[in-house]
């Protein structure tokens, strides 16, 4: 999918409690790769499965925002509830957020 305006991920919680925040814009050097990762995602049905707070103690919490085709799609969920289709995208975003410049 190439018709997107922004991708944002915030991952909080986890044992370490150190958040990961990533923002990707269409002029990003890796935009084509993120477009490819978005291909498998059904934005119209982007939702996690509800789970109670602390179902996974020390688990991650995700907030993913994708703006595409003029609409904003939000997903907020715990790590167990993260839909299979968005996991490759989320993994790539976390890797981006934790990349050390010059390595």
């Amino acid at each position: 999918m190439s018709d997107w305006q922004r991708i944002e991920l915030e991952r909080t919680g986890g044992l370490a409690g150190a958040p990961v925040r990533v923002h990707v814009a269409p002029d990003d050097a890796d935009a084509a790769r993120f477009s490819a990762l978005l291909d498998g995602v059904d934005l119209g049905h982007l939702q996690g499965v509800d789970e109670p707070a602390g179902a996974v103690v020390d688990g991650f919490s995700y907030s993913l925002t994708i703006e595409a085709g003029g609409a904003v799609h939000d997903l907020r969920c715990g790590e167990r509830a993260l839909p299979e289709a968005v996991r490759p995208l989320v993994r790539a975003l976390v890797r981006r957020g934790r990349a050390r410049p010059g390595r």
Binding site: T12, L15, A53, G54, A55, V56, V57, D58, S61, A99
Partner: protein, 337 residues
Amino acid sequence: MGACCFLPPLLLERLVLHGDERQRAFALRTLATDATLRSARLQSAVLPRRGVRATTGLQRSIFDAGGLEEQPGRLVRSEGQPPVGDPAVDEAYDGLGATYRLLAQEFGRDSLDDEGLPLVATVHYGQDYDNAFWDGAQMVFGDGDGQVFLRFTLAVEVVGHELAHGMVQDEAALAYLGQSGALNESVADVFGVLVKQHALQQTAEQADWLVGAGLLAPGVGGVALRSMAAPGTAYDDDVLGKDPQPAHMDDFVTTATDNGGVHINSGIPNKAFQLTATALGGFAWERAGKVWYDALRDPLLRPTARFQAFAAATVRAAGPLGVQETVADAWAQVGVL
């Protein structure tokens, strides 16, 4: 109280999670007064129900997820078997043993539930997985990404931390949200570092009071995930950011993320424990640890307890040991009492 009998705990949990402030307050109040809470709790996952167990004692099983996000994975080491040569497997096995020994030898407790619950851990969970967690029945450890975090079994206090969540779940069932969630995290840190100090036979003065020492990859600016002696100073790094933990109520962090900052504000009760332990001196598990353990088991402590309620429970528990003033003073120093 009228509504409590008609609202099932699951609905109340949904209100806690998704309701507005008034609904959330109502749901938490109702849950707190609901006698079924101890079994339903705020967590969907509860310890597996146990029938009559033929044997009690240390029973460890280590599984290998092989890089998948699946549990438990393949059984690779059972109780009594020799080391397998995979550091993650053997560290997990040893960490479970160290935790069991602290609880059994110093607190007279037979495993996490005091009924000999077998200890189960999964290692090599996921790809580059930067975490360890307790899922309500077992521990799970990732290998880290190698860039920021190394494997999570490296630090025995992290193994102890995850196991302590199981004990908290079995005793006070502190709700994993806001201040009660930060207490849940703090108690896990307290028993995590006690596992390490006990294994090394360190006094409060000798201990480093770090959680996750050695977990940060080479080149990362920091020494650990958290510092109980100096919350907020464990790391300061370009990629990881700065350790956000406060050490005093004046700096309490209000946030919607991380279940209301459970891994952030735990710095405040963490510091209260460290102050108590160092003021009392000697082995921290002997007096400070005993006080915190008895507070965790105090029947007056509610799952929704805030810092002040937990502090009050520790002061009550300090009575028989004659250390009430020391404990109250520690909580005063962090601005809770």
